[in-house]
Subunit: 689 residues, 2 copies
């Protein structure tokens, strides 16, 4: 490291040990070397990068010469469901292809491999313009031009990636794999043992893995790079890396934004979710069919509630917030001491505070003025707006009505339903939504008064739902194709309601954009610019669902009054199964049951096999399915989650307790060999050469 | 239940489900019946009571026709250490008597069985007197008289027991067993698997049991009542009872007392312990020998810190405190509405608040003015006081110098040391103690100034320690026997220091007694009296280390982001062992190791055997070793601890998460049969009739 860089590092707010979701071009190798006695070189990095893959919403990696791909079960859960039929429930029963002929094509799945990345910051920064707005627009056009050039030149997929909130602009070049087939998934009860209860917890016992295979021209694809399977396995203290696609973080928020989230926005969000849950639960209580219909939604809310409560707990962590506060105080002092930076962003922290205060005044209305949980009303609002927005120049439209947005919206509307339409559910949700708006804003609020016109919420909801045909794809198609004229001619009751709601929503949205979102965005960007000016690449950018490397060690942490074990084992899986009463007496709880296949094979298993483990790697949602790699560049595990303490990672990295939870590579082999009787897969994964 | 009782119950601050450490004469059977569908009758209660035993500091029970007694390993840990020699380390290696001839007599151990209890409240209450003080003294004398009468009549041990803070007075009649022999203890690493880390946690894996046998006239004693071993075992939801001796609770403290503990006293106590720990740690860092010398003390502080932090967490539990607040508001309102009660205690809550405020003013001095962690200075202070106090009438002495107190003090002083004397440690502790006093109170504080006389703390400490012979029992004996004259003639340097300290301590003690402790005691008693007048026996008294029954069900609770399993199994024991790296690679941590005997026998074990379990029973320290009994009156488990959430039980019962942790009866049998190869004990415990 040159002295200048060292000086820069010393000026930095101290990075916690093992902190960071680093881009592959900018790994803090000296720090890793100093801390762990080893750091990757260029060949290692290229090997791991080219072995890594991006899934829709997740990560994965090549793990065999013949194109086997490893990811999490939960990354492909929806796809597995899509491949299932009534007769062949792959989710419940799992799946193992006995040979390659049996491997199941996954329709629509595309995997992306980052083959190149080009820094176009200088080219884009040189784009001319007299005003800030002109320069912004010029930079945007220049980026798009550069992308088109590279796309034409390579024939590959190219994405513009903005890092450090605009500090750097890159073109990421991806190779896409479009023929992907399912090779093996365990039963969901094993992949997700303990269900929603165990989500985000540790000690954990999930075999959250799936194997797929990439094909080209109907033959197994042979990747140049793939991760060899470890022969030894990890032990406590070992250095590990995860290579994957963290989705998004808010670590560069100002202290005021975090405090606002802690004291207002997040508690409000939790209350909204709780209310929504109660409304669905009331519907579910009507009948078995009703519960079946909304069970998935309740499950989703529970999952979200657990995560959101975890975020809130993070925001309430005094030490973490102190860290944020200290970093901000330091940056502000440096900005105030430098006239140029001061002119750029000296007042921005205050401006953000003011915008947040204004957001509070609008919060209740913003919460109440949406479609109130009614799917039909949401559809109706979109329909009403389509001809209006389409008539405008693209730059003047509401963002979701861009040409691309319109196309996607239309596809969504006409797509066959995965859950059947139920008018009573629609009436229930709309009724409760209207009631809540009336309670919250008062019956005299113009929006409430206009919608209800003195009637009971239930009457309004029933009239609108029963007088609507918007659940019918044919009718939607007719209205979409018929444009403004067809819409104007329709007397659909839900469209009427949408026409009343539309002007209120537009007005509130404009006000919120002008008073809150605009200023927030502008001043966040200004702060990001001065931060990048001060610290540059000595730190890492917020997550952007692009490829990052994190590092850390297998390391216990203190929780629940004790020190938490670094590994769980297959003994632990059986302990929890038996501890809940075993197969017979599970007291009505299906949560910790095991499939018959596992019980039949339990005596064959080496129960001391490490099952899940924890490392201090810094990851977040989107990293699911990331390979965990050791210093030899071999696959030692499969990241699938964080512990509950890791949820604070949205806002800051807290190295004492934030842990990545991964499936141990040894557990996957043991299960493949002993439970799934797939010696061909074991042989392929462990092949020498 | 008669209507009047029902009405009384309805007037009560609601008892949480399963709350209460009930006396055997006053079990809320209707409530138990209503809640669990079954409640004990008189025969069941007598059977369980007479099967129960009191250990010094713990509980136990008869479990075989030939007088086998079951308790916790940690209840007899000190005794096991006492029976150990360098060649025969019973703590490390455990012990199993192959036959009765091998059973080891435990010197000094006495077990107590509660054979009768007589309510003398009426007799004592009738004792005459004109003033409050006279009546108090008369009641005391009357109690003692009644005890002597019963003692003479029965020839048994009789204790006066005050319940409900003076609401009831009882005589408890105990049969004592003085010939008790050790039959079996597991290795401490199994009894206390996970050591101090796992203390107060759950899921837990402790075989915290010990078997002893009562003898009479050198023959196994055959108790009329003993608990038969369960044949079935528990499952989730089952009703359980614990019969044992909860030590002490503070549930009847006023809200002001709890808040004072939360905001001042307990945080101060934690800081004091942390400082003490740091001082010992600094000494331990000097050498291996130094660490050996103070290791036990550090361990004890860690244990105490964990508990005290748990108490503090309880006091910070908003819901628990709300419950305390509501109960107090209710009682106060009722007291204010009743002229008689109002005259008794209407002002007492305010008086307690005032006393607490005054205690804050004296807190620093009270903390600093003791012997500052120096054993020699403590001894010197006692020596200086003995002749002074002995010259007074007993009623005028400092309480610890009563005739009984004096005798015990003398015995303690002359007892051989269990840990060798170390002058450097004494100097270190006294130096640090003096430094802390100077830091806290300032160098000019009269007490600090008088002790240091302008010298450095280290110089004062070294002079006092090196100029003292109080570590020598012969010298102590000489001074104790020589009385005032011998003391006056001594120029022992530590005695000199004690003579300086003595008047300061006495003055502060007097002030604290008058301003704080006196008023606290008086008004706590007044409040207790009005509470008993209102609610009487519809609730349970605070714990008094006398026999109580608690009830509850095997019931999971929410923690660590999930629902915690009701049972652990032997699989879990191995999971934690292997999860920490197993026998080979335990990374320097001995905490989760298993003895060779267990590893050798692991394949013989049925690993699905339930190991520990949790119930909602309301217990506290002193209940250790309590039998867990099912509705058949059979032994299903052995209580040994609570989870970390149970520590709030000192102040209130919080049924959502407070759980008793017990060893499952099935685990004890499995270990006896498979690991300890003791079929004779298995046969004795499971003998039909």
């Amino acid at each position: 490291m040159r002295l200048t860089t060292l000086a820069l590092l010393l000026a930095l707010p101290a990075l916690r040990a093992d902190e960071g979701m680093w881009t592959f071009d900018n790994l803090p190798t000296k720090k890793i070397q100093a801390q762990h006695g080893w750091a990757p070189d260029g060949a290692w990095l290229e090997h791991v990068r080219l072995s890594s893959l991006r899934f829709p919403g997740g990560s994965g990696s090549f793990v065999s010469r013949d194109g086997l791909v490893l990811t999490n079960h939960h990354v492909v859960r929806g796809l597995v469901l899509g491949l299932s039929t009534r007769e062949r429930d792959l989710l419940k029963n799992g799946f193992v292809a006995a040979d390659r002929a049996q491997e199941l094509k996954v329709p629509g799945l595309e995997l992306m491999q980052l083959v190149d990345a080009q820094d176009i910051t200088a080219r884009v920064g040189a784009a001319p313009g007299r005003t800030e707005t002109e320069r912004f627009r010029a930079r945007e056009l220049e980026s798009q031009k550069a992308r088109e050039e590279l796309r034409a030149k390579t024939g590959l997929t190219v994405e513009i990636v903005t890092l450090y909130q605009g500090g750097e602009t890159w073109l990421y070049v991806y190779r896409k794999f479009k023929d992907v087939r399912l090779v093996m998934v365990p039963e969901v009860s094993v992949a997700r043992f303990g269900g929603d209860f165990d989500n985000f917890t540790y000690p954990r016992h999930h075999l959250d893995c799936a194997l797929l295979r990439v094909y080209e021209k109907d033959k197994p694809y042979q990747p140049e790079h793939f991760l060899r399977w470890t022969q030894g396995g990890l032990k406590q203290g070992d250095l590990t890396f995860t290579s994957g696609h963290p989705g998004s973080t808010s670590r560069l928020w100002t202290l005021a934004q975090m405090r606002h989230a802690r004291d207002h926005a997040t508690p409000r969000q939790i209350r909204t979710m709780e209310r929504r849950r109660a409304v669905l639960e009331a519907f579910a209580a009507r009948s078995f069919e009703a519960r079946t219909l909304v069970g998935g939604q309740i499950y989703g809310i529970d999952n979200g509630l657990k995560a959101t409560r975890g975020y809130l707990a993070g925001l309430k962590d005094a030490e973490g917030m102190k860290q944020v506060e200290a970093a901000e105080a330091k940056l502000r002092a440096e900005v105030m001491a430098d006239p140029k930076l001061r002119a750029e962003a000296g007042g921005s922290w205050k401006k953000i505070e003011q915008a947040l205060a204004r957001s509070e005044a609008l919060a209740k209305e913003n919460l109440m003025i949406n479609a109130r949980g009614s799917e039909l009303l949401g559809t109706a609002l979109n329909l009403v707006r389509v001809p209006v927005e389409r008539a405008k120049a693209e730059k003047d439209r509401l963002p979701e009505f861009s040409e691309g947005g319109l196309k996607a919206m239309q596809e969504r509307m006409l797509k066959p339903r995965s859950i059947p339409y139920n008018a009573e559910l629609e009436i229930h949700l709309l009724t409760e939504g209207l009631k809540e708006a009336r309670e919250t804003l008062g019956a005299k609020h113009p929006f409430v008064a206009a919608l209800l016109r003195g009637q009971a919420p239930e009457a309004v909801a029933r009239l609108a739902v029963e007088g609507s045909r918007l659940q019918d794809p044919a009718e939607l198609k007719r209205l979409l194709e018929g444009g403004a004229q067809a819409l104007a001619a329709s007397d659909d009751a839900m469209l009427k309601l949408a026409r009343i709601l539309d002007p209120f929503q537009r007005a509130l949205r404009k006000k919120t954009e002008e008073q809150v979102e605009g200023p927030l965005k502008e001043h966040a960007t200004r702060i990001a610019r001065v931060r990048f000016a001060r610290y540059g690449k000595a730190t890492y950018p917020d997550a952007t669902f692009t490829l990052r490397l994190s590092y850390g060690a297998v390391e216990p942490y203190a929780a629940n009054g004790t020190l938490v074990q670094p590994f769980t084992t297959m003994h632990g899986l059986l302990d929890r199964f038996e501890g809940w009463g075993g197969q017979g007496a599970n007291q009505g709880r299906d949560t910790w049951r095991l499939p018959e296949r596992w019980l039949a094979k339990r005596s064959a298993l080496d129960l001391a096999t490490p099952y899940n483990f924890i490392t201090s790697n810094d990851i977040i949602g989107g990293n699911s399915g990331s390979p965990v790699v050791d210093r030899k560049g071999e696959l030692v595990g499969l990241a699938f989650d964080g512990n509950i303490e890791s949820l604070s990672g949205r806002y800051f990295y807290e190295g004492r307790t934030n842990r990545t939870v991964s499936v141990d590579a040894r557990a996957i082999l043991e299960a493949l060999a002993k439970v799934y009787e797939a010696p061909h897969l074991v042989a392929e994964l462990t092949a020498k050469q």
